[in-house]
Amino acid sequence: MTAPALELRGISKVYPLRVPGGWLPRFSDHHAVRDVSLVLPRNRILGLVGESGSGKTTTGMMALRLVEPSAGRILVDGVDITAMDHAGLKPYRRRMQVVFQDSYSALDPMMTLAQIVAEPLHIHGLGSKPEQTEQALGWLARVGLDRSYGNRYPHELSGGQRQRVAIARALILRPSVLVADEPTSALDVSVKAQIINLLQDLQAEMGLSILFISHDLSVVRSLTDEVAVMFNGRIVEQAPTEAIFTDARHAYTRSLLDAVPVQNPRERRHRTFLTRAQLEAATPRLAQADLARPALSQAAPQLVAVGPDHWLEAVVT
């Protein structure tokens, strides 16, 4: 069996938080991400959803080692990269790339599009300069921008076109993992579908594995194979996408789904909302007999199997 494209084993991120008041600065620990384990199989799209502050972006940045984890391990193609130094990491940087939400600040305004897309080849010393430019123009065409765009600058493009350039730059190194952090949130409705389709097509063509971070559940439903739901820095539920949408078990997952705007005015309804405190207190309690697979320990909240590939954070009694 080949190793998964990306694996996170019990990673955490703790930030010091200044405690207000007092003469001397005092700090407490803020757990942005707490003991998260995730497996991104090859040739799959995994959605990571949750509200702002849930830790989903921090998790994605730790997977790329753009944020150093406080604990836990990161494996890319089965190789542990957690403790690698800058030089050791460089060949693995090629295998994992990222696309951000704000394409405007992600592209250098002083560089032409051909230079932007060719830059990763330059950094990794792949090919001669004309070859690099030729490949970059080829990639621009592949993401739907005519070769003539090569001499243009980012400010000349629309948001959707800039996001295409960011995708071309991320994929020119043929990575095995792409972390896409809200790549469609800033786009107009009519352009959003174009970018989602582009990601779908490239994923299938290249056999790419994508960690798709998003708060937009409708996009997640159309794009992903599997979904992990984050709340307060932990994964509270994970399942194949359709199981999340039709058979959500955790109160937080259900509250997220219930909040999605209706697709037709006919479905309008009055909603009742749970408070944050209610959601935090809503960890399900399950008996061993309810589980698809026996839990290893009892008492502490843990991810347990409640169906085929369906995991739920619960207390086993």
Binding site: Q194, S218, V260, P261
Partner: protein, 320 residues
């Protein structure tokens, strides 16, 4: 009663590169107690239309012209300083997408709401403060007394948006303009704020204009929809009819491209191309370069926005 009556509104901005035509001949109206959703993508002119109706645009660079622009029975284009101030707040109030920049960071929430109340009505400070606290409670802020003394940076985005709604309602306006009020919020907070706006609208008998790019927000909140594209109205009609049987090719394409309509991973229906550049709009119908059913004349002359069936208007040659 007509609260807002706009006929053939044009708004342009004079800039270094030339004249940007943000709104190119918009006609719309709103009756008392009614809710209208204005849907469009960025650059479609939806926000500028609302800003022009309240004369919130700096003139120049903005240039506003209309055959008629009446708000609460007042001719907005002819109104001067004091008349405009009376219009804003009491007749119409507006809430914005980013509550963080809509509040002044150096004053407390209470100070800013009290200031608004006192600017429009002769009210003693203690009385105004009591009203402000009652308003904060009405927008479902539990710790209303504490929030009065809080500064904007101490509140979350959802709480700030609630406080801004409270401030907008402080003079009991007849129309509330809500410009993308939930775009910056999390999905659960969005649902709460939309439900709150709907409840307040029904309770106070207010007119509501909901400006959004999100068809889901429209499906949740309004009675009637106006679809804008490239500074023009494309289609107008009752919300249920628009969702069930859209008339205009643009509306049809927009509805078809919504993700997550059906189960399973799949490609989405996409609209090829990009939105028109307002500095250099295409000739004819602004949607024709992206329209799947465009004909030769679509690129020559823009179709009129006219009635197709009772209560439904559209601007498309195929419907005339």
């Amino acid at each position: 009663m007509r609260l807002l009556d706009v006929v053939n509104l044009t708004v342009s901005f004079v800039q270094h590169e030339g004249v940007v035509q943000a709104v190119r001949g918009m006609t719309l109206h709103l009756d008392a107690g009614e809710s209208l959703g204005i849907v469009g993508e960025s650059g479609s002119g939806k926000s500028v239309t609302c800003m022009a109706a309240l004369r919130l645009l700096r003139e120049p660079p903005a240039k506003i012209a209309a055959d008629r622009l009446d708000l609460g029975g007042v001719d907005v284009l002819a109104a001067r300083g004091r008349d405009l101030a009376a219009l804003r707040g009491r007749v119409a109030a507006m809430i914005f997408q980013d509550p963080m920049t809509a509040f002044d960071p150096s004053f407390t929430i209470g100070h800013q709401i009290v200031e608004t109340i006192q600017a429009h009505r002769a009210t003693a400070k203690a009385q105004a403060r009591a009203e402000a606290e009652a308003l904060l409670r009405r927008v479902e802020i539990k710790n209303a007394g504490g929030v009065l003394d809080a500064y904007p940076h101490q509140l979350s985005g959802g709480m700030l948006q609630r406080a801004m709604i409270a401030m907008a309602l402080s003079c009991q306006p007849q129309v509330l303009f809500a410009d993308e009020p939930t775009t910056a919020l999390d999905v659960t907070i969005q649902a709460q704020i939309l439900q709150l706006i709907k409840e307040l609208q029904a309770e106070m008998g207010m007119g509501l204009i909901m400006v959004t790019h999100d068809l889901g927000v429209v499906a949740e909140t309004v009675d009637r929809v106006l679809v804008m594209y490239g500074g023009r109205a494309m289609e107008q009609g009752p919300v249920q009819k628009i969702f069930d049987a859209p008339l205009h090719p643009y509306t049809q394409a927009l509805l078809a491209s919504i993700p997550g309509r059906v189960a399973g991973r799949q490609r989405l229906v996409e609209i090829a191309g990009a939105s028109p550049n307002p500095a250099n709009p295409p000739k004819g119908c602004p949607f024709h370069p992206r329209c799947a059913v465009a004909e030769a004349r679509c690129g020559v002359e823009a179709p009129a926005f006219q009635t197709v069936t009772a209560g439904r208007d559209a601007a498309c040659w195929r419907l005339q």
